[in-house]
Symmetry: C2
Subunit: 253 residues, 2 copies
């Protein structure tokens, strides 16, 4: 299994996908994937460039194509295919973009893609996801930060890793920012603690912006410039350093 | 129908329920509800005072009781009743607290309370909700800001008003705050625009902190100190001033 699970496509005030494009290039090179045959799943992009669906998917595909063209990658969005299952079955790699996780999961189920994508990746095709696209590599969508704009048939996702990722993980705001905003409300850690209360058996990886998980078989390496926060029910959180290598239970490899 | 739909229980750095307790008192006084017979639905409170369920419900009930005791109100949490439907049927008023909307909706469905609460309120019993508790007065949970820690049987809610409330509505952060956080990501308006793209038939009321909707039959009055933002698909947003009175289509009364 080869997966690149990216927290966020774009860092603050940087051009689109600038920080992660080299990572994607390196990942596909190591996977010896030719540049063609990459299927892009745009279902999370419900309002890209201010466009409603389905035009939003076209804008999304174009934006990703443009960002990745310098790497010699050719991607084709699945919304152009009459038979999305066949498109997945014939793909050389799968790429899932960010946006609204609920819409993404809803459309994945409607198009009956859970099993085909899962099988494809388990059989060795590389998987690249960012934000919502990383979230759906997990067992369920339960640790998304997105608004539930639509009810999916199920919260079940591709279930390629045994833990949940919380993309765009944020630390509590400093006091001066809270004072400026005068807005109460819980921290991300509080929200994840709520998740862990109801789902005590599963671990949550808080993936901060500008970081990614590089998965090769059962070995995971944290890429990027920031620590990752590993949260479990009833245990203190643990921070993992960039370039650490660990297994699916977060034990050092 | 008499409803008080509050954005948030507690303003930044104020004691618990300080800002909204007088509003609740005035609302129940006008509804001529005696202080007893108020049933509290605590299902959104999955981790109150750091406690796991079900202890969390006890802590939640105690916290609300203490905050509202000076008003002479006696509330009893529904989790003490063997038959929650009977408890609703015999209640004089229903109060629904904030927390995690997904857990709230999940438990409301599990306990088969949608129809009993709906009927009770349609028949005239006062309804008081804050945050998640205001969200569930709407047709669906789709405009919550919460993490989907559990999948409810359905996103359907009490459907007592024909529009969606987004509680804790926030405006985009000022540039200096974005710069300090260096965190990208969409504004609340962006998220609601995504909702409206997929659900263009329904209106969203962005209820800022320290504000509430006071509903008497089909007349709604905005209470509190801040404007409310009314958002519709393909139309410019409209701001409504405190003490304005309007109908369910946001037309002035």
């Amino acid at each position: 299994m080869r997966m690149l699970l990216i927290s966020n496509s774009t860092n603050y005030k940087e051009p689109y996908m600038q920080w992660c494009a080299p990572l994607i290039g390196g990942f596909l090179k190591q996977a010896k994937t030719a540049g063609d045959g990459i299927i892009f799943i745009p279902y999370a992009g419900v309002k890209i460039g201010g466009k409603d669906l389905p035009a939003s998917y076209d804008v999304y595909e174009e934006r990703v194509k443009t960002a990745l063209a310098p790497l010699g990658l050719e991607i084709k969005s699945i919304h152009h295919f009459g038979d999305p299952v066949k498109a997945v079955n014939e793909a050389k790699a799968i790429m899932v973009g960010g946006g609204n996780t609920f819409h993404l999961v809803s459309e994945i189920h409607k198009n009956k893609l859970i099993e085909p994508v899962r099988r494809k990746i388990m059989e060795g095709a590389p998987y690249i996801g960012w934000s919502a696209g990383s979230n759906v590599a997990c067992p369920r969508l339960c640790t998304t930060n997105d608004m539930p704009i639509v009810m999916p048939e199920s919260f079940k996702c591709f279930d390629l890793i045994p833990f949940q990722i919380n993309p765009h993980f944020t630390d509590p705001y400093p006091q001066e920012i809270n004072d400026a905003l005068r807005h109460g409300g819980e921290s991300r850690q509080d929200r994840i603690d709520e998740f862990l209360t109801v789902n005590p058996q599963i671990t949550v990886a808080g993936l901060r912006e500008a970081s990614a998980l590089w998965v090769e078989d059962c070995a995971v390496t944290l890429k990027g410039s920031r620590d990752m926060r590993v949260m479990r029910h009833g245990k203190p959180a643990v921070e993992i350093k960039p370039e650490s290598k660990f297994d699916f239970a977060f034990q050092k490899k």
